[in-house]
């Protein structure tokens, strides 16, 4: 049970299971043949087919705008929520508030999607770009709140306290001290929010309207008709973008983390000597 060979086997099998389907998908996006079981040679045909598919490109553009807007809104709201949860020990309805932050993380999407749609209909709002954006903001802000909260709970509060003791106004303290310190978490939260928005089919399907077809809705309707290498091509591009983003984010986080530890160390030495 404790042997390293057992562990290595488990990990190899586990990661093979996680990655082989994705790798196959990527490989077949370069397949000249339309059939998934026949390798017809290397080809970029499906990428050009995808590029000239106007419906797909329009959907990609809608998704990008919804993603950027809802991730940004969700990050602002989620960061505020994280501050409220970690910095204000007591306020009326704090329990209910933390419940509202955790519940959307596990809530089945069909429920969230349907209930929001009924709200929009009851309010007499036309469904479209903005309703999808609001829906995405609402569920992504909770993920951002969790990510930022964990950072706020672990960082050294003495810097914040020092600024306040020296008479720095709290809002200025937040922007000069707190925000730079939690910034990697805020960026990570934004990226998570963006990919979640990019990924969402169910909530978007309920809340979308004419002219606001997102990429997952488009992909879903084509997938129902069967596997097409064109979809493989767009999926490969999405996977590539996300992988690059995650690697870039983890590198910058690592670098800022090293700098932050060094700065905190210097600051600590400055205060003691």
């Amino acid at each position: 049970m404790r042997s390293p060979r057992f562990d290595a086997t488990v990990l190899t099998l586990g990661f093979a299971f996680l990655y082989i389907p994705i790798i196959i998908l990527i490989v077949y996006s370069f397949n000249a043949s339309r059939l998934v079981t026949v390798w017809g040679g290397f080809s970029l045909n499906w990428y050009s087919a995808m590029w000239s598919n106007q419906g797909l490109m329009d959907a990609a553009w809608v998704t990008a705008r919804v993603g950027v807007l809802s991730a940004t809104l969700g990050t602002v709201l989620g960061t505020l929520a994280a501050l409220a949860l970690t910095r204000f020990a007591r306020f009326p309805g704090r329990m209910a508030f933390s419940g509202m932050i955790y519940a959307p993380l596990v809530m089945p999407e069909v429920i969230t999607g349907l209930s929001l749609l009924l709200l929009f209909v009851a309010m007499g709002v036309d469904r479209g770009f903005w309703t999808v954006t609001i829906a995405h903001t609402t569920f992504t802000m909770c993920y951002v709140a969790i990510v930022v909260q964990s950072r706020l709970l672990t960082f050294d509060r003495s810097l914040e306290e020092a600024a306040l003791d020296l008479g720095c106004p709290p809002v200025k303290t937040f922007f000069k001290i707190t925000l730079p310190l939690i910034f990697p978490a805020v960026i990570a939260g934004w990226m998570l929010a963006f990919t979640l928005s990019l990924d969402d089919l169910v909530i978007a399907s309920f809340n979308t309207g004419p002219g606001a077809t997102t990429l997952p809705i488009k992909i879903y309707s084509q997938v129902r008709l069967g596997v097409t290498p064109e979809i493989n091509a767009i999926c490969t591009i999405l996977i590539g973008l996300v992988t690059l983003g995650v690697i870039a984010a983890s590198l910058t986080t690592k670098r800022t983390e090293i700098r932050r530890v060094r700065d905190e160390h210097l600051a600590a030495r400055g205060t003691t000597s």
Binding site: L11, L77, A89, V110
Partner: protein
């Protein structure tokens, strides 16, 4: 609302003019009440209304303040009674719970050894392993389910592989696609990172001197596992199981794309009711009952999260 400010302790709060502190709490609070809590009240109200052939397809929600008084006298249980009368819905709920329970068990059986192996790996490679688990989670859910269609369909890659290595004759095909087995594969594949990460977080924190002490005292490894490792990882087991079980119960994409016509899941039923039959009140009633079924798991999950935070 003024006591939001008064309550804050200057030693622990960020301090500041009352309105900024008020805003920090109020803005996300009001947003969530408006777009997360209010919709549930509306869905509850609509589940009690009649279907009308109009757009929006339900009888008007709000007819002035007098209507509030009439609300309770007008409660219409028609949709709920319909749900209990048609076995399709009862079977959908039961089948969703069954599929979610079996999937969660499978996820635990696969995820636990992975998380354990990760926690026992050298410290230097652990961040890379965590990254490798997270990366598929960042790639689209839909794409990952789609990838399995090409593998599992009768003329897909699995058939090709089995025919090539001779386990299957050239005229035979794998009959997994559009069955419950394909749904289980899709669910386990999609939710594995959600199971591994909480388990890893719990196992990584574990004090290894406990296991050394047990082995020094002559405790066999498998017994030490059940007496020490597993009980200590229980918070991770509960968190991971809830994070998987709750959304799987309402899953739509996986049973729709990989499951067969006889794969009953309530997320799919709700979707058909809404988009196919355009019966909004009935879809709302389906959602309300699903939510009631999930209240207890959701509360277990929230308690667990509060303990961790």
């Amino acid at each position: 609302m003024a006591n939001v400010v008064a309550e804050a302790n200057p030693a622990t709060g960020t301090g500041g003019p009352s309105w900024t502190r008020w805003l920090v709490v109020a803005v996300p609070y009001i947003w969530l009440i408006l777009f997360f809590v209010a919709p549930f009240l509306i869905i509850l109200k609509i589940s009690f209304s009649d279907t009308a052939i109009s757009i929006p397809p339900y009888t008007p929600l709000f007819q002035g303040f007098g209507a509030i008084g009439d609300f309770f006298s007008q409660l219409d249980f028609e949709n709920y009674i319909f749900l209990t009368e048609d076995p399709l819905y009862i079977w959908s709920y039961l089948s969703s719970l069954r599929i979610a329970a079996i999937s969660t068990l499978l996820l635990l059986l696969i995820g636990y050894p992975m998380a354990l192996a990760m926690a026992r790996a050298p410290t230097s490679i652990r961040p890379t392993l965590v990254m490798l688990v997270i990366l598929p989670f960042w790639t689209s859910f839909l794409i990952r389910v789609y990838a399995w269609i090409g593998i599992l369909k009768p003329d897909g890659l699995l058939t090709l592989l089995l025919q090539t290595i001779g386990l299957m004759g050239p005229d035979q095909q794998v009959q997994i696609f559009r069955t419950d087995y394909a749904v289980f594969i899709g669910i386990v594949y999609s939710y594995l990172p959600f199971m591994v990460l909480p388990l890893y977080a719990a196992l990584e924190k574990m004090d290894h001197s406990l296991l050394e002490a047990a082995s020094d005292l002559g405790c066999p490894p498998w017994k030490a596992f059940w007496k020490i490792t597993f009980p200590l990882s229980l918070p991770g087991v509960i968190a991971g199981s809830m994070i998987c079980f709750i959304p799987i119960t309402g899953e739509f994409v996986i049973p729709d794309l990989l499951g067969g016509a006889d794969t009953l899941m309530i997320g799919k039923t709700l979707w058909t009711e809404f988009f196919g039959n355009r019966d909004w009140p009935l879809a709302s009633a389906v959602a309300v009952i699903l939510l009631i079924m999930l209240v207890i798991p959701i509360m277990i999950f929230q308690n667990q999260q509060k303990k961790v935070a």
